[in-house]
């Protein structure tokens, strides 16, 4: 995944749903006629039914695969999505993202672990980092305030800067 998410194609989804409605109604009609004794309509009903199932599969796959991508974005960008990406989500997808965030946070609280920490096994408590952009003041958990200025180097607790490294604000120096 390269982090792109195309805009939700509302028009196309609506068109597919309309097509499905027509197919369904035609099928209902022909089934009723068959019940009334007409013959030979079955193949057509079968063909339309297959098309309905196909459309259903395409729509569900579309939504499902977008959902997987949005879930991935949570782990890449954190709890807040960049505006231009968020813009491409439809209303329900934004709701889903919020709920996913909530569930994840609740779960991490219950197990007492931040799952987004230590994505790689830690080898030391403190690490050397260089600042890649002017970020401003950063308060560590023990209350110390560090000024993160471009090109400045710091020796910080690993657990405090892992997220900033993921977001491209700090660079880890070995």
């Amino acid at each position: 995944m390269d982090g792109t998410l195309p805009p939700y194609n509302e028009d196309l989804v609506r068109q597919v749903l309309e097509e499905m409605k027509i197919l369904f109604e035609q099928n209902q009609k022909e089934v009723a006629l068959t019940v009334d004794g007409e013959t030979g309509l079955f193949s057509g009903v079968h063909l339309r039914h297959a098309s309905l199932e196909r459309n259903k599969r395409c729509l569900l796959s579309y939504i499902y695969n977008r959902m997987l991508r949005i879930k991935g974005l949570r782990w890449e960008f954190g709890t807040v999505l960049p505006e231009d990406i968020k813009y491409n989500l439809c209303e329900q997808e934004i709701q889903w993202f919020t709920k996913y965030n909530k569930s994840l946070a609740t779960y991490m609280r219950t197990v007492g672990l931040d799952l987004t920490q230590d994505m790689k096994p830690p080898k030391s408590l403190y690490i050397e980092v260089r600042c890649l952009e002017d970020y401003g003041e950063f308060e560590t958990e023990d209350g110390t305030v560090v000024l993160l200025k471009k090109n400045s180097q710091h020796f910080l607790p690993r657990s405090h800067c892992e997220h900033l490294i993921r977001q491209g604000i700090l660079e880890h120096i070995l």
């Binding site: 995944m1 022909e30 057509g44 063909l47 569900l60 796959s61 695969n65 974005l73 790689k120 993921r166």
Partner: protein, 195 residues
């Protein structure tokens, strides 16, 4: 058939994954089909037909998912019969193996021949794909990858990723924390949009 190759199934299990987009695209390919019965009120599917109905004996290019659905429903008579002239593997494009495998769902006489031909093709091409994926870490491989089938591309990038990770491990770089690739790509895109 090459010796030591695993036995080929001539009727692979059907739906692999309902939500698999590649599978959906692969079954989109059209195959020539011949109608065995008349179908009422769907004449618009065949531009050359007159009237509202599809006539028995009409030849249509139907997407694979539809032909498959209509020709194999246990207990019902066959509605469609796929035309055997479809067994032209070179037309299959980027989903060569996937589409070819799907064709095995039909009862063609050529099924076993088709299956072994696909397998041999894969084996013959695999060596070159593997070689390039192991050596082309810094080279532009787009010339090669543009000629690859969808599955071959996956094999190629898996090989390439393996080499890259091995080299990183060799230089002791694996414990370095890195910026998320998604974030990097997103920043790049944003920058190029501003320029």
């Amino acid at each position: 058939m090459a010796s030591g190759a695993p036995p080929l199934r001539s009727h692979p299990s059907s739906e692999l994954d309902y939500f698999d987009i590649d599978d959906i695209i692969a079954t989109q390919g059209r195959i020539p089909s011949k109608l065995e019965v008349q179908i009422y009120n769907l004449g618009f599917l065949d531009p050359s037909s007159e009237g509202n109905d599809l006539q028995a004996g009409a030849k249509l290019e139907l997407p694979l998912w539809l032909s498959k659905e209509l020709s194999y429903k246990d207990g019902y008579r066959e509605v469609f019969k796929a035309d055997a002239s479809v067994v032209d593997l070179h037309r299959l494009g980027p989903y060569f193996y996937e589409f070819g495998t799907k064709l095995l769902h039909f009862d063609f006489e050529e099924n076993s021949q088709m299956a072994s031909s696909m397998q041999e093709t894969f084996i013959k091409r695999f060596r070159k794909i593997m070689d390039s994926s192991q050596n082309a870490a810094n080279e532009d491989a787009s010339l090669l990858t543009s000629k690859l089938d969808h599955i071959e591309k996956q094999v190629f990038s898996a090989g390439r990723k393996g080499v890259r990770e091995f080299l990183q491990w060799e230089t002791g770089n694996t414990s370095k924390l890195t910026t998320s690739e998604t974030v990097v790509n997103h920043k790049k895109r944003k920058r190029s949009m501003l320029e």
